[in-house]
């Protein structure tokens, strides 16, 4: 694993990324995700949700009517009538630490540029968590999930204009997680790290990326135990940018009958740089593993066809972007 890490760093340099230590490296130590650490929480404010539906808000909604309406329609919930200011404050400043043992829907909407750390301990519950981040300047969001006997749908939309660090770490036992992330990177250095430690569980990750001129590192690092299924798929549109895809997955010797599938498909413009580092370590003969990576330049025939129908280049790109979003939503 260390050799791979060194190799990754070397290519990181080739792609002209900034000289920064990859925060994802830390998460290679999966033992760091345990209950004790969880409950320590540091500066993070601890909460015990009481409501059936827990909503976190910040000032984005009061200033962005359009977004409010879109989200209200999507979740069938009147944000303006249901503000939980105490939770909002906790989230807005440092993040939260929550023990969840009942069915919940949690929504974060923020344009914060601060450092947020969230810790969730989910047990025997069906939880949906939606995070929506926009904003300028540096921002860092770190989520850690410890999930037991639960079903979790985690959705994250990151639309930061520059320098964002998004790190989601999962430790799963007898659970099912669907994670859908949408990263729109415009400039600066951006990182999306997805790490998981899976015991007899199912993980499905869908990641959509539109990178229009930033240095972006996308990592999926995982270790699989017991009978588990992991499916990681990414779609990207890379426009004049540097993007690094890293998939390092390890099927443990105790991972009987597990399956690992990773699939990356990207479409790039001529001057965009892309590097993909797949690494599957399968230590059990009963495991199945598959990796695929395909990269195409923006299809000239496709563009010519659309232009011949009277659609200009800008709209052509818009259509392609919408297709990526459509895949993500499906």
């Amino acid at each position: 694993m260390n050799k791979k890490r060194k190799l990754a760093k070397r290519y990181f340099k080739i792609l002209n990324f900034e000289e920064k230590e990859s925060p994802s490296g830390y998460y290679l130590n999966f033992n760091s995700l345990n209950v004790e650490e969880f409950l320590r929480g540091g500066r993070v404010q601890k909460i015990q949700p009481q409501e059936n539906s827990l909503i976190f808000l910040d000032d984005t909604l009061s200033t962005n009517e359009r977004l409010t309406k879109v989200k209200e329609k999507e979740f069938g919930f009147d944000f303006r009538k249901n503000k939980f200011e105490a939770f909002n404050l906790a989230f807005y400043k440092n993040g939260i630490s929550a023990k969840i043992n009942k069915d919940l829907k949690i929504i974060f909407i923020s344009k914060t540029s601060q450092i947020i750390r969230n810790f969730f301990f989910i047990k025997n519950a069906n939880v949906k968590i939606v995070e929506f981040y926009t904003g300028k300047g540096f921002s860092s969001v770190s989520n850690r999930f410890l999930i037991k006997n639960s079903i979790v749908e985690h959705q994250m939309i990151s639309n930061n204009s520059s320098n964002s660090f998004v790190q989601d770490s999962f430790k799963l036992e007898h659970s099912r997680v669907i994670q859908r992330s949408f990263i729109k990177a415009k400039k600066g250095f951006n990182l999306k790290a997805f790490t998981f430690d899976v015991l007899e569980s199912e993980v499905k990750q869908k990641l959509s990326v539109i990178n229009s001129g930033s240095q972006l590192w996308i990592s999926s690092l995982g270790k699989v135990f017991g009978k588990s299924n992991v499916e990681i798929s990414s779609r990207g549109l890379l426009l004049g940018s540097s993007t690094f895809f890293e998939n390092l997955l390890d099927c443990d010797k105790n991972s009987k009958s597990s399956s690992i599938n990773t699939d990356i498909r990207v479409m790039k413009e001529k001057n965009a740089k892309v590097f993909c580092l797949p690494s599957l370590s399968v230590n059990n003969k009963n495991c199945s593993a598959r990796h695929s990576f395909s990269m195409i330049e923006l299809d000239k025939d496709e563009i010519k066809y659309l232009k011949a129908k009277g659609i200009d280049t800008k709209s052509v790109k818009k259509i392609i972007k919408e297709n990526i979003l459509k895949w993500w939503r499906s």
């Binding site: 496709e302 066809y305 232009k307 011949a308 129908k309 009277g310 259509i319 297709n323 459509k326």
Partner: protein, 205 residues
Amino acid sequence: MKFEDSKVYAILGPNGSGKTTLAKAIMGIQKISKGKIFFNSKDITKLSPEKRAKLGIFLGFQQTPELEVSLQNLLFAIDGEKAYEKINKLKSFVEELDIDLKRELIGLSGGEKKKLELFEFLYMQPKFAILDEPDSGVDIDSFKKIVKAIDFARKEFNPTLVIISHYENIFNYIEPSFVYVLKDGKVAKSGGKELIESIKRYGYE
């Protein structure tokens, strides 16, 4: 080559003679090494494909790319909300051609692609349309529907129609005013519809 208003032209020629290249050059998606293209006395040689389309030039492609987008969404990208109204007017043809406008343009059969291209032709109502092999890869029922749609277009907005085909059969139903035969990228023969009969009998040689 000259194409007059509201007339029907047939373009024939053996494989690799340059029929599709000519169509693409007129549409602006194939660069030309020499010569000029005029449309309504305006030099459009350097005009982009989308601008040519907006002037009223249409190309019904012989082969369409696989696209994760439906024809309906493409039409919305062109016309916005107006597309609803225009599609509604052609509702009978959606049923007649048996097409699904909401289906993504992936994994379609040759016949389905042709019918969608033809629907687009009816929708756009161009002044000048090139239909590149509209009859290839279609069954007899679809062929009849395609002919019916072209007839409708001639009655409704009467465009200049250039039909490229390998099969003479289509010209039994849509009679051309003039025929061009291409060979090695050049016009080898031209004349009236009797030229089709001659090709049918003696081939391109």
